[in-house]
């Protein structure tokens, strides 16, 4: 298949996937456009007070640049709180804890990221977020298909199997959940530690077959 020379998309046309219970919505840009040299995504918050950048460190060493594309956000950058209106860049080194909450409705952030000194590798979480996003929207079948695709892309990553276990647990499929969790633990024993604290598995925890 011949790749197109260029692609065009407006923020309003991007897919929307809810990420958490704080209102964070992920709008995939890199996936939509087929960008390979660096990561880029948009995040939107429907109302003031909703989260618009997840609070996190970049454990895989990515530098990240955020642009407030629309609205206004309150960023936390290390110990600092920043009022960021539309047109503001916020740059975070990998070790800096960062996050943002919308200060106006319809706030949109565009994020760019990559790791210095190495070719860009597409983040494994993207496919998992698609799957879990579908589930949050009540699209279980689409979510299951997306999770299978995410696992097929990275068959040796424990995170795919682990999140598939969460997915199946949340949809009440005990056998599938346990099978995926067992596979995740085989790939990396630290999956067991995560499962021991993960509320997604609460209803399965006392089952004799539960592997964590």
């Amino acid at each position: 298949m011949t790749e197109r020379t260029y692609e065009v998309a407006h923020l309003d046309e991007l897919d929307s996937f809810p990420v958490d219970e704080e209102g964070l919505v992920w709008r995939p840009v890199r996936r939509r456009l087929g960008i390979r040299a660096f990561g880029t995504n948009a995040y939107t918050a429907e109302k003031a007070g909703d989260r618009v950048v997840e609070e996190h460190f970049e454990r895989d060493g990515h530098e990240e640049l955020y642009l407030v594309a629309k609205g206004r956000a309150t960023f936390t950058l290390g110990d600092e709180e920043i009022d960021a209106s539309a047109g503001t860049f916020v740059y975070a080194t990998p070790g800096t804890k960062r996050g943002a909450v919308a200060a106006e409705p319809e706030t949109t952030i565009v994020a760019f990221g990559a790791k210095p000194g190495v070719p860009h590798e597409i983040s494994g979480w993207e496919g998992i977020f698609v799957a879990l996003g579908h589930l949050k929207k009540g699209e279980e079948d689409k979510g299951r298909q997306a999770m299978a695709a995410a696992i097929a892309e990275r068959p040796n990553d424990w995170q795919g199997q682990y999140n598939a276990a969460c997915f199946e647990s949340l949809t009440g499929n005990k056998d599938e959940a346990i099978a995926h969790l067992q596979r995740a633990i085989e790939l990396d024993p630290k999956a067991r530690e995560f499962a021991q604290k993960d509320t997604d598995f609460d209803w399965l925890r006392d089952d004799p077959e539960f592997p964590a």
Binding site: Y6, V8, A37, A86, R98, H120
Partner: protein, 224 residues
């Protein structure tokens, strides 16, 4: 170091055309290219027409994001209406691309890199620290900075070209002609740029200038 900045505060006027926000160099980003251009009036070429194949370009795939205002992009002859919030991703380094602002205050952010390779800054961006002084018309300081940068890259034609611009504007005609001639010798594509560049107006009447710019083509590379 982590930090924040507004596009409009970073964007400086270096020559005629859009203001340039040197985003990557401002924050010291090493993993990908990123810059922004701001057109204060409609009709300005907010993204100069270029491809990513020239000696100064990085063969990058480039993502353009219209952060404010409204622009008309042209990619390989196809016109794209791009209001604020539009992404235009140009995958093919050979594609000719450019954009004209259709509203005042149009800002376009560009991110770029080469798939499968660790990011290295494009050669054209080497001049960035010295170009900052153009905004304050402190051309002597710019020349000092260019000379410092030349110690690292003596035969960088883009750097020599920009040095010649600063020397022309500082009234150092002989030096300007010498460095412009050297830039054109290393990369004949600079001839056409020099013909239209108002930075050379102070020396344009000199016969030495005319002999340095007798040619045509495009230097390319004006992005991330």
């Amino acid at each position: 170091m982590s930090g924040t900045a507004k596009i409009t505060d970073l964007a400086i006027q270096i020559s005629s055309g859009p203001r340039w926000a040197m985003v990557r160099t401002h924050f010291g980003i090493g993993a990908f290219g990123v810059n922004a251009y701001v057109a204060d009036e409609p009709g300005i070429a907010v993204i100069g027409e270029h491809d990513e194949l020239g000696d100064l370009a990085g063969r990058h795939e480039e993502l353009y994001f219209v952060a404010s205002g409204h622009a008309t992009f042209t990619v390989d002859g196809n016109e794209i209406d791009a209001p604020a919030g539009t992404f235009v991703f140009v995958r093919d380094p050979a594609a000719k691309r450019g954009a004209i602002a259709t509203e005042a205050g149009t800002a376009v952010v560009i991110a770029g890199g080469k798939p499968g390779e660790a990011f290295t800054p494009s050669a054209w961006e080497r001049s960035a620290p010295a170009l900052n002084y153009f905004a304050t018309r402190d051309y002597d300081k710019a020349i000092e900075e260019f000379e410092r940068l030349r110690a690292e890259a003596p035969d960088d034609p883009g750097l020599l070209y920009n040095l010649a611009c600063a020397e022309s504007l500082a009234g150092r005609a002989t030096d300007a002609v010498e460095h412009l001639s050297r830039a054109v010798e290393l990369d004949p594509d600079f001839r056409r740029l020099a013909e239209k560049d108002s930075d050379f107006d102070p020396i344009r009447a000199k016969p030495e200038f005319a002999s340095a710019v007798a040619g045509e083509s495009d230097p390319g590379g004006s992005g991330a």
